[in-house]
Symmetry: C3
């Protein structure tokens, strides 16, 4: 069995989806595992990892707008507001989505569907550098 741990950093510039599919695959290539799984795990509680449609940018904008409507900022019902009006909504968005994705690997490639991409979903407005841990297990 081979286990590889690696990391990528994603520079974000405000809310939205940032595709990292190629960066993840390049870490799998470097590891050399042909068959197994990879777990893509983000080490923060104000952004998410999601698999999403990667073809049409309008689908990503509609997704972002939906989350803005579902969890509006500046609501007086938020008690946890010392870190900014987008902080508490960012934690809720994270809980409603995912902290990690586990993807099968066969023949050295992630077995994603045609339209699936892996994205870091940023929930904060200010620029951040996000640490994403990539673990590959297989042979």
């Amino acid at each position: 069995m081979t286990i590889c741990h690696d990391r990528i950093e994603v520079g974000t510039k405000g809310k939205g989806l940032y595709e990292i599919t190629d960066e993840v695959q390049s870490k799998i290539d470097k590891c050399g595992v042909q068959s197994g799984t990879t777990t893509v795990f983000v080490q923060h509680t104000s952004c998410s990892i999601v698999i999403m449609e990667n073809a049409d940018p309008t689908a990503r904008r509609d997704l972002e707008d939906f989350f803005d409507r579902l969890i509006p900022e500046d609501k007086d019902y938020f008690e946890h507001s010392s870190e900014g009006s987008d902080d508490m909504p960012s934690h809720i968005r994270m809980v409603l989505t995912r902290t990690s994705e586990t993807v099968p690997i066969a023949n050295g490639k992630m077995q994603l569907g045609t339209w699936q991409g892996i994205f870091l979903f940023e929930h904060r407005r200010a620029p951040h550098r996000r640490k994403v841990s990539i673990t590959v297990i297989g042979e």
Copy 2:
């Protein structure tokens, strides 16, 4: 270590939950792993994999109705509408739920609770054939 990759196809006839627990277990049986994990991963962005209560059909209908109210179709705020009014809501439902589930295996069986079943959650109205990848890792 043993790693098995297999696949099932699920024919769907409209929105709703389609149980696949037995099909997943039969792929684990075929693989022969007694101890480890299985990752059930759907290769599409307009349906989901979820674990849900498998006893009472009314619980599944209530769940479907809730999602219809939370993400209504035919809203003019959706820009991504060229593939039908149920397409953009289907991507949002997928992001709010899950693309995969990872389940422990002991004594050759998935360690599900009494009322847990694995379901493909279809978000489109038209019939589809959905590809579900099943990876088993263990010994």
Copy 3:
């Protein structure tokens, strides 16, 4: 390869987040795996496993309040109500969050970010004993 299966039980006293990070780490310590992953899986359909901000209790209260507003109890549109008014909302909360989390392990420790904790998210009002399965795979 080493595979360990273990279990913790969490006694809950109503809705809310119950941190289990230390209990999970102690099971990894007991297993002795230095490099790999752990899958924390709850065997119920009316509570969830989530990773959440573990520093500020107000963030957890705001999260709980958000879910109470998003999926209110006692709505007459729920057909599945024989087990109490908080039962159907509990299944919806579970589908909107997660049944399991998979976390990388390096140098014997979970690779959580500074503010990340693992929580059992209870969705029922009555006290429960919740079974959480912990699987460690690695070497």
